[in-house]
Symmetry: C2
Subunit: 200 residues, 2 copies
């Protein structure tokens, strides 16, 4: 049924456009100052047709923030597939983290500042994913410490520090900047191993 | 003239209360979504008396953001007073940076997200100070590299990484958390030296 397929495709495209426009507006003006009418105007849609695609402004924010964490968790999982050596694992996990933040700066910016804009259930969903993501780094550092490969004054602080490096990249990285995405990703992988006090 | 002194004191206190209330509101709702009426309500003042103390919402934001950078620049300067050794200097500058961010989380949060809310002249004033602050760290790392005390793949990335660590602290630090401010400050000083590849 090509008609149905096309209609699903159009709906997916529309939803993606709405999400992209909302992300841009949330980043520029803040979630609270952005209205559904602003989002509709940005994609050329009026209220009734807009609401066919999204339930509410809160629904869009939740999708953006939960989606961002799911994408990070997925990138982390893929980075570690088939990797045994803990030093290689920490390097790869950091590279995936930094690359995501270089490529998704608006998601990182909005995700960082609008946690208070989420209703309770959505906030819990995001915080659960964040804890799980942070825990992935903490487990790597714990494992490296147990194997006497990493040496840190505090496992928790080392994992926070590595995560904060990536989030910083989202603040200052520009495609036309002095350093390429690959250079930054590679160097930050090195810095993560330094933070972990990696030896051998 | 005690009367005059008291009146100056009250004005200073009032301005400080307005600034504190605005900071809280900007952090919670965003600059754009906050109105002067909201700020007035938070300090129990109506429009006319509020405008005796501050010219505009933009004026408050500019004072917060310029004031934050001036405080950071001052803390940096004080941390380096009389310090010759470049390793000690980088440790102290990082400690001052991290301590400021642990103690001024709202300023850091608003300073990070509302740069777009500033008018052109104010934005330039903030960006000039940011560049100068970042340059302080870059100069330290350059000096350490020239003395063969620091070893980094990129001076620019190492300075960004150290700065981002401090800004991360503003996101997650809590007074009642597992680690004290001093522990975090001390550990992050260590991490900065690791990032710089400090030897000797």
């Amino acid at each position: 049924m090509p008609g149905v397929v096309r209609s699903v495709g159009q709906d997916g495209t529309r939803s993606a456009s709405i999400r992209a426009a909302a992300l841009e507006l949330f980043a520029r003006h803040g979630y609270e100052a952005t209205t559904m009418a602003d989002i509709g105007a940005a994609v050329g849609m009026r209220g009734p047709s807009l609401y066919k695609h999204v339930a509410s402004k809160q629904d869009i924010l939740a999708r953006i923030m939960v989606g961002t964490m799911d994408a990070l968790l997925d990138a982390h999982r893929v980075a570690l597939l088939g990797v045994d050596d803990v030093t290689v694992a920490l390097r790869r996990a950091t590279e995936a983290h930094v690359r995501y933040h270089a490529r998704h700066r608006l998601e990182a910016f909005v995700g960082n500042r609008e946690i208070r804009g989420l209703t309770e259930g959505h906030r819990r969903a995001v915080l659960r994913r964040r804890a799980s993501y942070e825990n992935g780094f903490r487990q790597l550092i714990t494992r490296g410490t147990e194997q006497d490969r990493f040496h840190v004054p505090s496992i928790r602080l080392a994992s926070y520090a590595i995560l904060d490096l990536g989030m910083g990249v989202a603040n200052w990285y520009r495609e036309d900047g002095e350093l390429s995405e690959d250079q930054i990703v590679w160097h930050y992988g090195d810095l993560a191993l330094r933070i972990a006090g990696a030896t051998g």
